[in-house]
Symmetry: C2
Subunit: 132 residues, 2 copies
């Protein structure tokens, strides 16, 4: 498994997301069959409505500022099996069924798309300097 340390993470991502014109919520995407966690993405109202209407996962791309119809180019469409909201109503769980075999845009050493975006082990580095 590839590894990464905590200082390589993009700690500024949510500042960008928080400043978007479009309101979004984080969505945890889980494979309904294998229960593998596939990714964390973002939903706008439109992405959520289209996902529900079409039965296919549509996210809001926080970098391209537009809807991202998952699998439109890769073919790795995700069918929506169930949508749940958390206790505080500020995050979503989307359980999906893969039409293809992969889910991530990156490829494993065999050249296949990863089945989950979480293919790197995170090795935190010690910067536990107490609460700031």
């Amino acid at each position: 498994m590839e590894t990464v340390d905590s200082e390589q993470l993009d700690w500024h991502k949510l500042r960008t997301v928080g400043g978007l014109d479009t309101n979004v919520l984080p969505v945890a995407v889980q494979d309904a069959d294998t229960r593998e966690m596939i990714m964390v993405a973002y939903l706008s109202r439109e992405a959520l409505a289209e996902s529900a209407r079409t039965g296919r996962a549509v996210f809001y791309s926080t970098s391209r500022h537009q809807l991202h119809r998952k699998g439109e180019t890769s073919g790795d469409v995700l069918d929506v099996v169930r949508l749940s909201a958390n206790c505080d109503l500020n995050s979503v769980l989307m359980e999906v069924r893969k039409q293809g075999t992969g889910a991530c845009h990156e490829r494993d050493p065999d050249g296949d798309h990863y089945t989950s975006c979480f293919f790197r082990e995170l090795l935190p580095i010690g910067e536990d300097q107490g609460e700031r």
Copy 2:
């Protein structure tokens, strides 16, 4: 299962998170044994480092602006089994093992803490008006 519709969601949450003094990343928390998705929370550098150092899940409370040592008051401590980072290095998967039986602060009709915060089915309402 309780239900909620998309207009009841807190669509402004990430604006607040994006404006915090502390940089955070979303973390999807999954039960390593049952594979149930427990919650989406947030990690600061300090929360991540303390989680790794102590082996117990510590988050950053985006409402209280301080570390949240999970289970400190409820007893529902989550032991950290594995940490992964996604392809784009902007979200984290934390696989955990429950010390207690529950995980959410809310209780089910029997009075037990829910094992997952995603106990409400989300029924999106039709406001698919195309991309804005």
